[in-house]
């Protein structure tokens, strides 16, 4: 004897089943299995600002490529997880992507700390690994299927600051002395080490060479100490909060050096540029892409327009000049390799990626044998005519003049810095 309650429950269950089955039957059958690209990205934690910006750029690429029919006739899907800027989360994420989600291709997360932990995993599976902004990661692993989209160059640590010192060498009268100051943290120390090498090779005398703790907030004493040595050149390697502090302190103290800047992370970000305004004028600092006419690569303006629209209200860099074009490009490289080899064979892809010059939104990209760019394209740009409290001025040309390398030069240097 079936009770009324039991009957009712059974009826509901049967109904639900029927409904579900119906949905499945009536669902459109896709022509081809999706092509899955897997990665981890810092969507929370210290690097979330950059990670989220990168993801926006990557989603734009995915929409673009799917409009063209996908890859190998298959719609591209992303499978990604938040690594929360914690290196310990990266191995579980990549092993899941590969062993459980069974993605077809992998790319890296953002930043050295998040790229390195994935290396042994991708190396074991012999996968092509396009990477997004890690400094000299492959120096340790020496993996022949690693491809770094950051344009640091074959010797990243020294290439970073080479331009700064070559520009200095061109000046007349030749400067003699240099001060090197850096934050006591991973990237900055590497940059400073490279600067030291370049300075010595160029024949400059290092009159000040110190580091400061990452927690420093008052930079006036540091700038005063530097000023006391009266250096001709001042090379700074720092992270965003330090960069802001150093620029402000330099103006406050009235730094008299002839060239100031170098390796300050942060001066490439729209919000900081607006904040510092005219204090940036004449600073010569590194950058990767600026809206100068010499860097108007095919597709970059369209990409930036889409990015700036998508970035509204997301708490990321509103202009997106620094990282997003490269996040788009590292997938473009993969796209071209897959289309050209018409396969997902990692060996074939790697071979193609080593020998090809790719055309991307950040220009021509050619990788060297160690996976870094074959030629460095760390730009040295000089801020000029910056007006106060105006972010839109940085959207167009004229405010960040490219001085180096010569191939991309868009103007002449204003030297000395302290006019």
């Amino acid at each position: 004897m079936v009770s009324r309650r039991l009957f009712a429950r059974a009826a509901v269950a049967a109904g639900a089943l029927a409904f579900a089955a119906g949905t499945l039957v009536s669902a459109p059958v896709y022509a081809a299995k999706p092509l899955k690209i897997g990665f981890s990205m810092a969507l929370t934690g210290g690097l979330a600002g950059a990670g989220k910006a990168a993801l926006i750029a990557m989603e734009i690429w995915r929409a673009d490529v799917n409009k063209k029919g996908g890859l190998l006739g298959r719609p591209v899907e992303f499978v990604y997880y938040d690594d929360a800027t914690q290196p310990a989360k990266v191995p579980p994420i990549y092993t899941k992507l590969l062993n459980v989600d069974k993605v077809d291709l992998v790319v890296s997360s953002y930043g050295t700390n998040e790229i390195a932990p994935a290396m042994p995993i991708v190396m074991r599976k012999k996968l092509v690994f396009p990477s997004l902004f890690g400094l000299a990661v492959n120096d340790e692993f020496k993996y022949n299927r690693y491809f770094q989209i950051m344009p640091a160059g074959p010797e990243p640590k020294t290439d970073w600051s080479k331009g700064f010192f070559e520009l200095a060498l061109e000046q007349n009268p030749k400067p003699k002395t240099v001060a090197i100051v850096s934050a006591d943290a991973e990237f900055a120390l590497n940059a400073a080490a490279g600067a030291r090498k370049n300075a010595k090779a160029a024949g400059f005398i290092v009159v000040y060479d110190k580091t400061f703790p990452p927690s420093t907030t008052d930079f006036s004493p540091i700038v005063r100490a530097i000023e006391a040595e009266k250096p001709d050149l001042v090379y700074v390697a720092s992270y965003p909060p330090h960069s802001v502090g150093m620029v402000k302190a330099a103006r406050e103290v009235g730094l008299k050096a002839k060239m100031f800047g170098g390796g300050m992370v942060g001066l490439q970000f729209a919000a900081i540029q607006k904040n510092l305004g005219p204090q940036l004028n004449n600073i010569v600092n590194y950058d990767f892409w600026v809206p100068e006419p010499t860097l108007n690569f095919p597709g970059v303006k369209e990409f930036l327009a889409k990015y700036q629209e998508a970035a509204k209200g997301k708490g990321v860099d509103p202009l997106g000049h620094y990282l997003p074009p490269y996040a788009y490009a590292y997938l473009q490289v993969l796209e071209e390799a897959v289309n050209a080899t018409k396969s997902l064979d990692q060996g074939k892809l790697a071979a193609y990626m080593h020998k090809t010059t790719f055309k991307t939104v950040v220009g021509n990209v050619k990788f060297g044998s160690n996976g870094e760019w074959a030629t460095s394209r760390v730009l040295m740009v000089q801020f000029r005519d910056v007006k106060p409290n105006d972010m839109a001025q940085f959207a167009g040309p004229g405010k960040r003049i490219v001085l180096y390398p010569k191939a991309w030069k868009s103007g002449d240097i204003v030297y000395p810095f302290n006019q």
């Binding site: 929360a84 290196p87 579980p92 390195a116």
Partner: protein, 318 residues
């Protein structure tokens, strides 16, 4: 060791888990499960370790995860210097961190309550600064660890790490359980409940507290020793990560601090939840999970899950 039937059951279960773990490595090759479970095992050791000083002895401390980081860096330093095999690295980390626990205990245990907690936090910062400036282990730049391609007995390196961690976890649980039920454990509980009364009842409070910090330090160091081989890149910021520290406090508090099984339950529950959320929902939720659970448990169930179970069992008896 085999004082009663409870002991026998415990050791049988432990042995079974270890054997099952080994069996799994020989049958399942999917690396994801090993990496995910590694993280949970590491959290378990740290929760068990923290609980020895925080739960059993009642000295809440915020700097304990620094021992984890020093354990990791000791392994890195010795690996670079002498290339010692893993068991030696683990033993060395245990020794170094145990001594550190002893030293730190001696310096800070004369402080009580809030002052002790703050002092431990300060100690963690001092240690991080020291590592930040030690060039041999990469200082602020961090250091890479290359792991071998092939390992004996296992089809991948991560399986080896998994077995190592499993053995260490089971070992630390056994030590914690033994302590909980021992004379020393009862002395620690007396210190936790009322240190002055304990001293007057003949409990050598300073000595027991030092044993507690030494053991906690050694266990945390043991949890840290295999870590560099798991992530292959270690730098002070990620090793001394505050999230790791908070986890090792939250897990015992959620599981229950008075009983040896409390931190285990807390770690499995919270750690497991975190691993699942990382690869499913994957949003800010993951960061929130520990905080919400902690607040809920501290306000509604301060005795933790163990306390809830005990209450429920008492109610059933009536």
């Amino acid at each position: 060791m085999f004082r009663n039937r409870g002991d026998v059951v415990f050791w049988i279960v432990l042995g079974a888990v270890l054997l099952a773990g080994f069996g799994v490595t020989q049958t399942i090759a999917n690396e994801y499960y090993y990496t995910a479970i590694y993280a949970i095992l590491q959290a378990t050791i740290m929760a068990v370790a923290w609980n020895i000083l925080g739960g059993f002895t009642g000295y809440v401390n915020f700097g304990s995860a620094a021992f984890f980081a020093i354990g990791a860096y000791t392994a890195v330093a010795l690996d670079k210097w002498l290339g010692l095999p893993m068991p030696f690295l683990i033993a060395a980390s245990a020794a170094v961190c145990g001594l550190m626990g002893l030293g730190v205990g001696y310096l800070t245990l004369r402080l009580k309550g809030v002052y002790f907690a703050i002092a431990t936090l300060a100690m963690a910062i001092v240690l991080e600064t020291l590592i930040n400036n030690w060039d041999y282990v990469g200082a602020a730049k961090g250091v890479y660890i290359l792991t071998p391609e092939k390992v004996p007995f296992f089809s991948s390196y991560i399986q080896l790490l998994f077995m190592v961690m499993l053995a260490l976890t089971l070992g630390s649980i056994a030590i914690s359980r033994y302590l909980n039920a021992s004379r020393i454990g009862r002395g620690l509980a007396a210190i936790r409940d009322d240190e002055v009364a304990a001293e007057c009842a003949g409990v050598p409070t300073l000595r027991l507290k030092l044993i507690s910090t030494t053991l906690m330090g050694a266990m945390m160091g043991v949890a840290g020793a295999p870590y560099p081989f798991f992530v292959t890149f270690v730098d002070p910021i990620s090793a001394f990560n505050l999230f790791v520290a908070v986890n090792s406090i939250a897990m015992p508090m959620i599981g229950g601090t008075a009983h040896w099984i409390g931190p285990v339950i807390g770690a499995l529950l919270v750690g497991g939840a975190q691993e699942v959320i990382t690869v499913t929902v994957s949003s800010e939720l993951n960061v929130l999970i520990v905080g919400i659970m902690l607040v809920l448990f501290i306000t509604l169930a301060p005795q933790g899950i163990v306390g809830l179970v005990q209450k429920w069992m008492k109610r059933r008896k009536r």
